[in-house]
Symmetry: C2
Subunit: 238 residues, 2 copies
């Protein structure tokens, strides 16, 4: 069987992958990684149907592991199974958008607070490096790298909490709004993007709980507030 190469296969391998990629569930993990990464960086477009055999051929595996991964992601509301069985990236609606925003504001500042005691100056240094790259992506207009790095920034903080419950919930939220954000960046560009990452880093250095909570909340509000207006504009003209 000819294994076709595609953009999905050359996914950026996250730094600290702990998975040994053993023979057990290797195919499924490969597919899972590819699709998740694709969703978070916006390589899947909302409304675009994703076919089982298509993805399978693209990744050089049988449709079987793809089916399982798609079911998983559908369970996380990252994908939507339509009544006829077709799977697609859900379209964003104003109501959904407001709910995601609310959920993020409820959960993410809280988890950041839980993570704070586990964050060292080494983490702050790492975050600063990531944030520098982010700034560069904003200037150069590299939306895909921006999204990946922004995800890295936030989840480096959240992951430090060692959370097993809140973190997966937030993971689900990001998978839901990321594909939509990508379409907005394609519309308005990245130059108008602003974040509160530096405030967050400073709060971590000072181990200031309230400051970190505020920085994360403000970062979410800034990022999604801007885009909320854009969404309504899109809704009006579509």
């Amino acid at each position: 069987m000819a294994v076709r190469r595609s953009a999905l296969q050359s996914g950026p391998s996250k730094g600290g992958d702990t998975a040994p990629t053993s023979t057990r569930g290797a195919a499924r993990e490969q597919v899972d990684r590819a699709v998740r990464s694709g969703l978070l960086t916006g390589r899947f477009i909302p409304g675009k149907a994703v076919t089982l055999r298509g993805l399978a051929a693209e990744l050089g595996v049988s449709p079987m592991p793809v089916r399982e991964v798609l079911q998983r992601l559908a369970a996380e509301n990252a994908l939507e199974v339509k009544p006829n069985g077709r799977v697609q990236v859900p379209d964003m609606t104003p109501a959904r958008y407001q709910e995601v925003l609310k959920a993020r504001l409820l959960l993410e500042p809280e988890l950041a607070t839980l993570a704070l005691p586990h964050l060292t100056s080494k983490d702050a240094k790492r975050l600063k490096a990531v944030d520098d790259d982010i700034d560069q992506c904003i200037l150069s207009g590299d939306a895909e790298s921006y999204m990946r790095l922004n995800h890295t920034f936030h989840f480096h903080i959240y992951r430090a909490s060692g959370s097993e419950v809140l973190l997966p919930l937030i993971d689900s939220l990001w998978l839901q709004f990321a594909p939509f954000m990508r379409t907005v960046y394609g519309r308005v560009g990245t130059v108008s993007l602003d974040d509160r990452h530096k405030e967050a880093i400073r709060a971590i250095e000072l181990q200031n709980e309230d400051a970190l909570r505020s920085a994360i909340a403000a970062d979410i509000n800034d990022g999604m507030g801007l885009l909320g207006k854009e969404l309504l504009a899109v809704q009006g003209k579509t």
Copy 2:
């Protein structure tokens, strides 16, 4: 093939099932309903492995739809796939418990508040009926019915919000703590159970936002606070 009957098949069909149970994805939906119901009512014990072929035979279907459902539930953290591929109900830990409690307190009062404008006196009447049944279950010690009705009570409120984002998150949380709660009820019984359902109903009748929020939060704290101590006791002696 002999279709063996089991406790799983006679799952209590929830009142307002909108699914037409057509031929499309019928098997998967049947399995999903059975396993979800089983988790929420505590018919699956934490730590107990659930085998693919076993469940398939029990439900009279091939292992295929079972695989997909198990993957879905694993994605919602309702089940745990161990490194060797075995699937089991996750064990509860003190850390997990604290996180679930925190997440519930963050999300559920908020969603109840969102739902309040959509809740009518008809809903209050329905909730009152459910709550009466709950009281009876507590007195009679019917833990399984209690858990099912308590879920019905809460989600009747939450579902009225029309939420597409917060509701699935809360769904995931309930699937995570329900099996553990069942084991605790088996240990301490149901007589000591207390809830704030009547306060919540009254808040709905009065359309009092703050009162409803407080009632839900108090209900969660009451229910899980008691059990938290029990968990620690179990941890100590195991």
